[in-house]
Amino acid sequence: MADTVNKTLGPQLDRRGFLKGCTMAAAALGLSDAMIPKLVEAAATAERPRVIWLHFQECTGCTESLLRSSHPDLARLLLDIISLDYHETVMAAAGHQAEQNLHDTVDKHPFILVVEGGIPTKDGGIYCKIAGKTAMEILAKVAPKASAIIAIGTCATFGGVQAAAPNPTGSVGVQALVSGKPIVNIPGCPPNPVSFLGTILHYLTFKRLPALDHLNRPLFAYGRRIHDHCERRAHFDEGRFVENFGDQGHKLGYCLYKVGCKGPETFSNCPAVRFNDVGVWPVSVGHGCIGCTEPNFWDTMTPFYERLPNVKIPASGIIDSADKVGKTVLGVTAAAVGIHAAVGIGKRLIKGKSEE
């Protein structure tokens, strides 16, 4: 039997795996099963869209999660349905040849730009240089010619860990530097490969980007709060909480709210899609969400094991929990009230009550 699909998609991927991947992407996008043939058709088309994948200030974790997910099908599908013209981690070319590929694609073809990593802007952007050019220069050259831009990972969307206060390199996400281009943000540290694949397939199938939220994240993946889809939600409503890691409540699978889970303030499809094709995600294995899909999560979601960030009072060295600071200020207020009342009473005792 002629296996035509395998010929176009590479020997590692069988038709069954290919269809599974397309079906998963359709499910992630919330499409009906009637749309799966269209997705398959779009993904298997001979006209593969060109993709340039730029790495800036990052750990390559997003690429790793994509390549080493327990879905080799998915990763392979991604690499085979698109023509990945430039990707520093996986490309065969090196040196001048690699740069030549990049310039050829940028100058001669329509392409989708994927950016992984933050872009340092301080001191002229010297903190990230590739082939003698700063990340800012590369982005400024490539981005205006892209037909669409996908920022993958929290670094490329919101700056990531290197943008944490005091942000020594002035790192920002793509949307802070590029305007006038459709930008899709796929935040996460790393994001679920399904969210990325779903966006690509949506674009290939419908020739437009998926619906986005106020932070330019696709609604199909980032439209719902983790807390509202969490399997431990019933324990939250019924007041059953883990007090410490390893305690009885933890063993019984109670809600991780009191040990700092950021599920109530984080938008992602983690509880529904899960990771690595084995049905796990952080909360399912007993660790709270750290809020990695949200802007500036290194600053606003830390301490990771507390509900709220600490209050930092500038120029005083005071860093404490909001409640401790609040109690102190309330105590000082009460003391001031007491002193004020005492002064008034003392004054009246000395001077006597004035006659009305």
């Binding site: 939220d213 106020h214 932070l215 439209g223 719902r224 709060r225 939250f236 409503d237 019924e238 007041g239 059953r240 909480f241 007090e243 009885q248 409540g249 709210y257 009191k258 950021k262 109530p264 303030e265 984080t266 938008f267 809020g291 949200e294 802007p295 500036n296 999560f297 606003t300 979601m301 509900r307 709220l308 960030p309 209050v311 909001a322 600071v325 609040g326 200020v329 309330l330 207020t333 009460a334 009230v337 004020h340 009342a341 002064v343 008034g344 004054k347 004035s354 009305e356």
Partner: protein, 214 residues
């Protein structure tokens, strides 16, 4: 003996606002502390016990009361009587600026002279205005957290706070202002009531204050 005469000062709507605001704050603070750090841990499964769901329900009921109260105050700032309008408490006229300084002198025991006026003194009025603005932030951050997927609240929430977590943080910090405000407010009401026989405390029940007969 000085002679006093009755003056109508606060409309029924303002008194309604005051008590809606005060009572809802009590409920909001108590349930808010529970929601932030639930102190019960039932460890009982399969029984009727929804402490977090119940606390959140009370919090939302109180929150709608609070929001309605703030809406009433906004209406009164614009359409209320002479004492209730916002121009009466802004330091924009000579009379008001003068009152601000005289109130500060009186509160710091430097002067015994009381600047008699029917409405709020300027210090109180400005503190109430600040609290009103804090209340608006509480409402926006609260609704942003309650309806994160509603486009209206998500739009404002992302614009003002950036993320749910920052909205939560601000919501929590501003709560402390309402407690601190309550301590100062109740103390200064008692202080004024003890110092000047204007009937300040009863005025928030009856709407009537007393002034020297001209």
């Amino acid at each position: 003996m000085a002679t006093y005469e009755k003056h109508h000062c606060w409309s029924i709507l303002l008194r309604l606002f005051h008590w809606m605001f005060a009572l809802s704050i009590v409920f909001l603070v108590v349930t808010g502390f529970y929601i932030n750090n639930p102190w019960t841990n039932t460890m009982i499964e399969g029984s009727f016990s929804f402490p977090m769901a119940t606390m959140r329900y009370i919090h939302y009921l109180a929150a709608y009361t609070f929001s309605s109260a703030v809406a009433i105050r906004l209406f009164l700032y614009i359409f209320g009587n002479a004492q209730e309008r916002v121009l009466d408490i802004l330091p924009v006229t000579g009379r008001n600026i003068n009152n601000l300084f005289r109130t500060l002198l009186q509160y710091s025991y430097i002067s015994d002279k009381h600047d008699e006026r029917l409405g709020h003194n300027l210090l109180a009025g400005l503190t109430y205005l600040f609290t009103f603005i804090a209340a608006v932030f509480m409402i926006v951050s609260g609704f942003y957290m309650l309806y994160p997927e509603a486009s209206f609240w998500a739009g404002w929430g992302v614009m003002i706070f950036g993320s749910q977590q920052f909205a939560r943080y601000l919501h929590h910090i501003l709560m402390w202002w309402f407690m601190i405000f309550a301590v100062i407010h109740i103390y200064l009401c008692i202080w004024n009531d003890a110092n000047e026989p204007e009937g300040l405390i009863s005025s928030i029940f009856t709407g009537v204050k007393f002034k020297h007969k001209a």
